[in-house]
């Protein structure tokens, strides 16, 4: 006997849906078993919060009088360059964009105190940002310069569009070299001085639906405090990695491309990130509801931190050189205990993703669904699965000789 998304939505409408977080679901299944958990629970909510570099926003700022064609010209948002290779007044700003005068890593490690991610946080938070644009001028778009304050409430569209978010599992980063290194996984102390991980583990969306049975194109999600949708699989989506007996990938695997109205979002869940010596990014909060359609989904959503294994990767040599070797696997239960053992060494752990925020997001989403404010959407297409033949390609470098 299957449950349908339509039936669940009717229950949500009637205020009768039983909604629990993925953390709570693990406990329910342990206590009552899969069959009973399936009978009792309609929806499991997940959550994750962490730096997600392939994030950005696009804007349509409206037409000036006289008109300007920013497309093909240049634009700065609070001094951070946006992408203008679009129509007249459409702009895209990515999280890792930096002001032209930022010294980057000229004096290594650079600080990267302000970039695209920070602009997005401020803009979503309702602050005025400074738009500066230049154009070459045409007969129909004669204006060549524009300098103005810009507020989210005044633009036509402000849309968060992130081409890779919510990684299904991720590396644990360590440093085997004898000097500190500064990575997107944080500062890594020499000689296995620390190990940094970045996944919400038990609460992580794609780890609770490991075969993408319910999360697909068109799935309605919590995105940055507002509502968003899964629009495609994310870039580098890599479903065919090794998996455990319960289908949990043991390497970074699936990813999501997501989209949503920035005007409905909350800057609490969209935070500018500065990774010392690395660059800027955007801390993004995502929560995805998982309909418990059958016993298999009840079993999948009961995944616990002890069931999720992550690869330990050396970021001083293996990662930068693109070598596949790992130093071993470790469970999220061990990672979250604060210390892990690598070889014979006791190594303290740190996290790049926030578990308390992930928990908060899963709870907010649970409350929204239980309160009849958020309904589940039927995906219109499945994401490519492990049988899709999609693999993660390295760059095929071909020297250019003329």
């Amino acid at each position: 006997m299957q449950r349908t998304i339509q039936e669940i939505n009717e229950k949500i409408k009637a205020g009768k849906a039983v909604v629990v977080t993925a953390e709570e679901m693990s406990g329910i299944v342990k206590k009552k078993g899969v069959a009973q958990a399936y009978r009792e629970v309609d929806v499991v909510t997940t959550g994750t919060f962490g730096p997600m570099c392939s994030s950005g926003m696009y804007l349509n700022v409206g037409h000036t009088k006289p008109r300007i064609k920013i497309g093909g010209g240049t634009c700065l948002l609070n001094g951070v360059p946006g992408y203008t290779g679009l129509a007249a007044v459409d702009i895209y700003l990515g999280a890792t964009a930096l002001p032209e005068d930022d010294p980057r890593n000229k004096i290594h490690p650079g600080e990267f105190r302000y970039g695209g991610g920070h602009v997005i946080e401020e803009f979503a938070g309702g602050k005025d940002i400074e738009l500066q644009a230049s154009a070459y001028g045409t007969d129909c778009y004669p204006r060549k310069e524009l300098k103005s304050w810009l507020n989210i409430k005044d633009v036509n569209e402000a849309v968060l569009f992130n081409i890779r978010n919510a990684y299904q599992n991720y590396n644990v980063a360590v440093n085997l070299s004898d000097k500190a290194i500064y990575t997107y996984m944080g500062t890594l102390k020499p000689k296995l001085g620390n190990a940094n991980y970045s996944s919400a583990g038990v609460l992580s969306p794609l780890l609770n639906d490991p075969l993408y049975r319910t999360i697909g194109i068109g799935t309605r999600i919590f995105l940055g405090g507002g509502v968003g949708f899964v629009s495609w699989h994310g870039t580098q989506h890599n479903p065919a990695v090794p998996r455990t007996g319960r289908e949990v990938p043991t390497r970074p695997a699936g990813t999501l491309c997501v989209i949503g109205d920035l005007k409905g979002m909350d800057a609490r869940y969209l935070r500018g990130v500065s990774m010392y010596g690395y660059g800027t990014s955007l801390g993004v909060g995502i929560g995805i509801p998982i309909p418990i359609l059958d016993e298999e989904m009840a079993a999948f959503t009961s995944v616990g931190d002890e069931d999720i294994l992550a690869p330990i990767v050396d970021y001083s040599t293996s990662y930068p050189q693109g070598k596949p070797d790992i130093l071993g696997e470790v469970s999220y239960q061990n990672l979250r205990s604060g210390r892990i053992t690598i070889g014979k060494k006791d190594v303290p752990t740190g996290a790049i993703s926030s578990f308390s925020k992930a928990r908060e997001i899963a709870q907010v989403l649970k409350d929204r669904i239980a309160g009849g404010d958020f309904f589940l959407a039927e995906p219109v297409e499945r994401l490519p699965g492990k049988e899709s033949g999609i693999t993660f390609k390295a760059f095929q470098e071909r020297p250019v000789e003329r």
């Binding site: 993703s353 925020k357 928990r359």
Partner: protein
Amino acid sequence: MISRRVVLHFPSKLIDQPIISNTVKRYNLEFNILKASIAPPEGGLLVLELQGGKKDVQEALDYLKALSIKIENLSRDITRKDDRCVHCGACVAICPSEALVLKQTNWEVEFVADKCVACELCVRACPYAAMEVRL
């Protein structure tokens, strides 16, 4: 190698002497002046980071004390902007003195200011610019 941050209060009779120069030479230390003010009637105030061997730093401080310079630890100059902290834990394993702890109950990062040695490693390690130096 250790690093200590101290606030030195100089009596006015000492301000014309090259005390810091003597100290760093004698005990082979590196120093970084974080703040300095000299006002002859009251004496001088110097906030200093001293880096060197553990024994050397201690002996240097004893030497300064013997010259009747009042020494205070600068241990509370790191503060956390709670509205910026997302409790990720990027600082936790970086902190050498366990002043930043990821609590296993609510999974929030607790900042124990008393344990802070003001090394500032967390200031750089924090992706959300939540840790601040205040003098």
